[in-house]
Symmetry: C2
């Protein structure tokens, strides 16, 4: 195993699950490891406490007259349940079939560490970088980055930059370098329905009181029509329609056909808004998803209760020009208006982030395309991403810089799922990409 | 504490949860305790293995020319979760405010043991009973008595009887002796909806595939209209309408007003089929209830997944003349026909039992009314029960005898819920009731 891979394995062994308070110490230990690793490469690195998990900064010696580049990544990871579906332990990385298998290998530790190693090697070999580089690594991306925007505001001068690069997205197909010029936003909430003051015997009381587990089904069903169109009033008001050139460009992108989506998801059939391809549905159309639902008895056998309460966790993926606060207000209004008789509803808003859209052919965009072409020896494609990296909007608003999204994960990376994986060759390409990117970006200064 | 209560506490300490295979040894130990206890009173007792949990029989010496009476009870109990809502440990009985608090104290250990103690005391004091008595105690009532009907068939001659008595129902109000002349039946199933072959990232794939947790909501919502009427085709076809004399009699029953139901359930409002009182809704109208629903992430924080599957546990309470097999076939057809696009549905039928109806004024019914009057020094009321004791139908079909349902639990007994309780005075009244009942029944022989 190469020393680069050994370094990645060390990084992956930290169970840095940001959403679970039992793992707070692991998240912090992971941040400390990053500081030491950056320092070993010759960067000046520092750990910054926040009200949540720490931010890590690392930088080369900055000199006047050079382009200022910020590279962002996150070292926190998603939870791992259901644990029994993992073929190898999530925090004991393994290589099988040319891929690394571990929680966080693709999202985002493998991608972010490739940049750190790429720049670190350039620094070791050349004694300098072609740009003024700052790494910004956070530990709260998977919980919506609640403390990053305040951190950006507090460190606005230190983090001032011309352009930002992030590798936290995907490639449309193996070997096809991919740039995302847009992302969906997100708005989350948890909804609790309450009925009787305790679980009731469904024989003694069934028929005379409302059942919160029935009510949660009715509330979920109110979100869509039978064709999957969202029924929240005004939900589509601010949705920007796809441009003709985007639909034309995306129609040629490999790896996103109906057959590809069927294969990657393993769903019995595709299902989505009529009149849009799967790529259009996931990159440029909004959604309402149930991420979790629960109520009553879920164990072995049966228990004939009317549960006292039931809950549903919802998330909405948003597209330009939808606003998460506006959408959550509309959703809350919808849920309250559609709350079935006989139960009460409580809507607890969660994290959110705005959708993002930028010009793929700006001078930085063109430099990124060149770097992708060089690192992969193939023509890059330009798409939008279906996921949400809300902080790119914060970067634009607080730091005034656009973000280049240069993804390295494959569509079957199984991020957020059991058996997350990342090809060894993509990790190595990421290291090459960083070196090509800093070189290409440094030349935009002269344009 | 009286020795009767000490005996009950010993009985309650067995965690005889029949639905949970981890408690099989506890169920068996509880059955052995019953055999010893019956033998100590002078009964001939025996433990009978079944493919599931054991049946216990106990009898006095039977003599020709006397009425044959069978008394049934069950020594298994419901699960105890959510455990954190119990004010005292479910299997460490306590007396507070004149009530016994423990899982199973009302359903059914307290009620059945009152009969065993009542008859046992008569036997000890008089050396005989006025009838030929057989106790039949089973350990699988809470899982639908899968092995009882075969047992009845195999022991048909040994269990031959003129009438059966069961105390496993409720009293409409404290001090008001209550006889149930009908019960609802039941049909249960578990429904599993499957979509993608694993949990998916809701950003990358949301919008292009169906979400099983959304689909389970839509399927649940298909069961009722907004007024709570069940939408399964043909569901009401065989429902026998209430007789005028029943509605008139029930309108005078204490403890079942709207206010009583609101107080006992703690629901924000009542909700049920229009045109029926809560008593009518729960005693004489069928239901479709969600006993449990689950899918996706239910832990702390958020996890933006599209779950691979979701499930719902359903039970249907049935009234004369609905047939559980017919209803389950209709339900399965409905669920398959209403399965949302993009997911597959599997319906796994569970336990079932027929509804029951008998004449409250038969000669045995009148004897039971007299016994209730004597034991409680109050006029009894005649109702139907909302719960299900499917085996009373088996008693009728296999043993050819009707069942007297003489309930001792109060409506706030919290059976199947945390903090199950049973008044000490009802336990003592149950002992008196047994003695009055055997006396009154013995006289029907001469009528």
């Amino acid at each position: 195993m190469t020393s680069d891979l050994e370094q990645l394995f060390g990084f992956l062994r930290f169970p840095s699950i940001s959403t679970d308070s039992r793992h707070s110490a692991d998240v912090r230990a992971c941040a400390r490891w990053l500081v030491r690793t950056a320092e070993d490469f010759g960067f000046e690195a520092s750990l910054h406490d926040t009200p949540g998990h720490p931010v890590v900064l690392a930088r080369n010696v900055h000199r006047e007259g050079r382009l200022n580049v910020l590279i962002y990544g996150h070292y926190d990871v998603q939870p791992v349940d259901p644990l029994d579906l993992w073929e190898s332990a999530p925090f004991e990385p393994e290589i099988r079939d040319g891929r690394i298998w571990a929680r966080g290998c693709a999202d985002n530790k493998g991608q972010m560490l490739a940049h750190l190693i790429g720049a670190g090697k350039t620094l070791r070999e050349s004694g300098d970088l072609p740009v003024n580089l700052t790494f910004l690594f956070e530990g709260e991306e998977e919980i919506g980055s609640p403390n990053l925007a305040p951190f950006l505001r507090d460190h606005r001068e230190e983090l001032a930059c011309d352009v930002i690069a992030v590798s936290d997205t995907g490639m449309v197909a193996p070997g096809v370098p991919t740039m995302d010029y847009g992302l969906r936003g997100i708005a989350c909430c948890e909804v609790i329905l309450r009925g009787p003051e305790r679980d009731l015997h469904s024989g003694l009381f069934g028929g005379a009181v409302a059942n919160p587990a029935t009510a949660v089904g009715r509330l979920i069903a109110s979100l869509h029509d039978a064709d999957g169109r969202i029924q929240v009033e005004g939900f589509y008001d601010d949705v920007r329609e796809l441009e003709a050139w985007e639909r034309e460009m995306w129609a040629k992108v490999p790896g996103v056909s109906d057959g590809d989506f069927l294969k990657v998801t393993g769903s019995p059939s595709l299902f989505g808004e009529k009149g849009f391809s799967p790529a259009e549905q996931t990159w440029a159309r909004p959604t309402a998803e149930v991420n979790g639902v629960g109520g009553g008895y879920q164990g072995e056998g049966s228990k004939t209760v009317i549960p006292a309460e039931a809950m549903v966790k919802l998330s909405f993926r948003l597209v330009p020009d939808q606003d998460p606060k506006d959408i959550m207000a509309k959703v809350k209004g919808h849920l309250e208006a559609h709350c079935p008789a006989g139960v009460t509803v409580e809507v607890v808003p969660g994290h959110d982030g705005k959708p993002y859209l930028t010009d793929p052919n700006s001078r930085f965009g063109k430099a990124a395309q060149e770097a992708l072409r060089n690192a992969f020896s193939a023509e890059p494609v330009m798409i939008r991403g279906g996921g949400s990296i809300p902080i790119v909007q914060d970067f634009r608003e607080i730091l005034g810089a656009d973000t280049l999204l240069l993804g390295l994960a494959l569509s079957d990376a199984q991020i957020h799922s059991p058996n997350e994986n990342f090809p060894v060759e993509n990790f190595e390409a990421g290291i090459r990409l960083n070196r090509a990117l800093l070189e290409a970006l440094s030349k935009t200064r002269d344009v």
